[in-house]
Symmetry: C2
Subunit: 353 residues, 2 copies
């Protein structure tokens, strides 16, 4: 299990991947993230204390800290490692995925590699309550300095006066949000690179800009047209932080084209009123093939640990389309079915006797 | 879905992989195996007739025949192909697995790549009914000219007079089995290469030999010691056909060593009586980590399509340790979970309304 930079507790040493693997009966080796070695150590000591108190085998849990990339690379290639859980960047995750696939005995790499979590704003909803949606988006986009995997980075809206009002309301809601401290210097610097990438793209308009330095992040808002977005893959790449991009499409047909052109996503969101039902129904078969979780009239940043949760999706949201890294189903990644045929009672696992 | 050479009906055009993928709602493209193009065509015509009769979309099923390896390679790299089902050789399967993993958007390759299906004969059972086990083994080993993925190619037995009697009884049971026609020239030629590989290995004794040519296969029986088997990986590689290898181990400790050194298997079998329970219990934690299916006092060649069936296992038995290619659970390979949050009734799939 690789600790995630953005969740020092919920997705690192004793986070969701570790809990799922332990629950499946697997000993776990955690590679601590360099962003929070102290937190990792404190949590590992708590786990170690629990293991001693319960008289469990000490090999059930290990934490490895420090070193460069070669430490993680060695771990995923070790013959006793049989599966990997990872939350992080596309580049880093893909490199480890490749090592897992290239082993003499390939092992599954369950990686959650990012998502832009697009929201589709349908016309009746934008007309009736565009300002409320704008305020909600600004809150979701800037929560925790935008450092959520499920941060909704893109809003797709049909061009016109209602879209203008939505854009104005979003700008107004984001403007007073001050600088927030990001988790690491690396995340802050990657945020600014992402911002520069979007700002430099052809046909992109700056709606809200600011300056941020050191480990600070301030919100940015950009707009582009559906045509420009469809022509430029860069505009669909994740910028990790409080940066929003409004994609103004010419009509609903172009909104469908944007949906069809999406890469795999953790979430897709619809904002819709009763009068938008037909458009929503038309989008659903597309969105169901693009995302692990589809929401209506909400914001995706809150991820409940529940039976029905899917935190995964087609690549690169997840490297395994059948897997979720949050929720009850997450244990399945680390389970292996065994069929017992005609076994004497005494040889069956205790639960099956 | 790649048609399997050894199951023109049950694991080819309309076989288990196709049924599982269709049941999961996926359109299927079958790459027919060159061993049985006529059978593939007849079955495809039946599927096509059913599609027309039911008014289903004709794109739900396609059969592609002919060509060299580049046809299959192109298929697994096509952007509309999202998962692959395969039953076949380790070399051929691994090449396709690698192509799937190397895609810009990697896709799962569900490959069943072979198994030697070892049987562990515990001492009380061998003493009490070694001859019956020998007869059963001979039947399972030669059924269908040994062309089953679950063919039990290896029997591990503790050396001594009871082992001698078991070996004699096996030789006697196999001797009268005549030549059987194999499915293809390629399978027959690979069988003879495998036989030569075993016969040439150090410390291997020929117990039953014969000559077979053209597309014929006659049974062969070899014996070796636990020590030789542990020292030579070649002896653990699958020989597809009616060839048996008896591994005479010095004692139960050496039997445990043989079990621990196994690569992933579709099946492992125990032959045991009540007095063998402790030995069986000692083997179980090892075998559960080596095979997808564990049997007692039976033979693995019959694979029932049932809820509890697992036809898979650690690599190379399967490329995905969580997958089975036979039984109800086989559908899971082609399913992708989607979470619906706060969706209006009208946008949910009909089954969830």
């Amino acid at each position: 299990v690789f600790g995630a930079s953005n969740f020092p507790l919920a997705f690192s040493t004793a986070g969701g991947d570790t809990a799922a693997a332990l629950a499946a009966g697997c000993p776990v080796v955690v590679k601590g993230h360099s962003a929070h070695p102290g937190t990792a150590e404190i949590v590992a000591q708590a786990i170690d204390a629990a293991i001693r108190k319960l008289g469990m085998h000490p090999g059930i849990f290990s934490l490895i800290q420090g070193g460069k990339r070669d430490v993680g690379q060695s771990l995923v290639q070790h013959k006793l490692i049989k599966a990997v859980g990872f939350t992080g960047s596309l580049a880093g995750g893909r490199a480890l995925f490749d090592l897992c696939a290239q082993r003499e005995d390939p092992i599954p790499f369950f990686g959650e590699l990012g998502s832009v979590n697009p929201m589709f704003l349908l016309p009746e909803a934008v007309k009736a309550r565009g300002e409320a949606i704008a305020k909600g988006w600004a809150g979701s986009l800037t929560m925790g300095a935008g450092q959520f995997c499920t941060n909704p980075g893109i809003s797709v809206v049909i061009d016109g006066p209602d879209a203008d009002a939505f854009v104005d309301a979003t700008t107004e809601a984001l403007a007073p949000v001050g600088a927030q401290t990001m988790l690491t210097d690396g995340i802050a610097s990657a945020y600014r690179s992402g911002r520069d990438r979007i700002a430099a793209a052809k046909g992109v308009q700056e709606l809200l800009t600011s300056t941020c330095d050191l480990r600070n992040a301030t919100p940015y808002l950009f707009a582009t047209t559906g045509k420009e977005w469809l022509d430029n893959e860069v505009l669909g790449e994740e910028v990790f932080g409080p940066l929003g991009l409004v994609v103004r499409v010419a009509d609903f047909d172009e909104m469908m084209k944007v949906a069809r052109s999406l890469s795999g996503q953790l979430t897709c969101t619809l904002h819709m009123d009763a009068g938008d039902t037909k458009h929503g129904q038309a989008l659903m078969p597309v969105l169901e093939r693009k995302a692990g979780r589809i929401l209506a009239n909400g914001f995706p940043t809150g991820v409940e640990v529940a039976d029905s949760m899917v935190h995964g999706g087609p690549y690169p949201a997840s490297t395994n389309f059948g897997a979720t890294s949050v929720g009850t189903l997450s244990i399945r990644r680390f389970l292996r079915p065994v069929c017992y045929q005609n076994m004497p009672e005494e040889l069956l696992p205790a639960d099956l006797r």
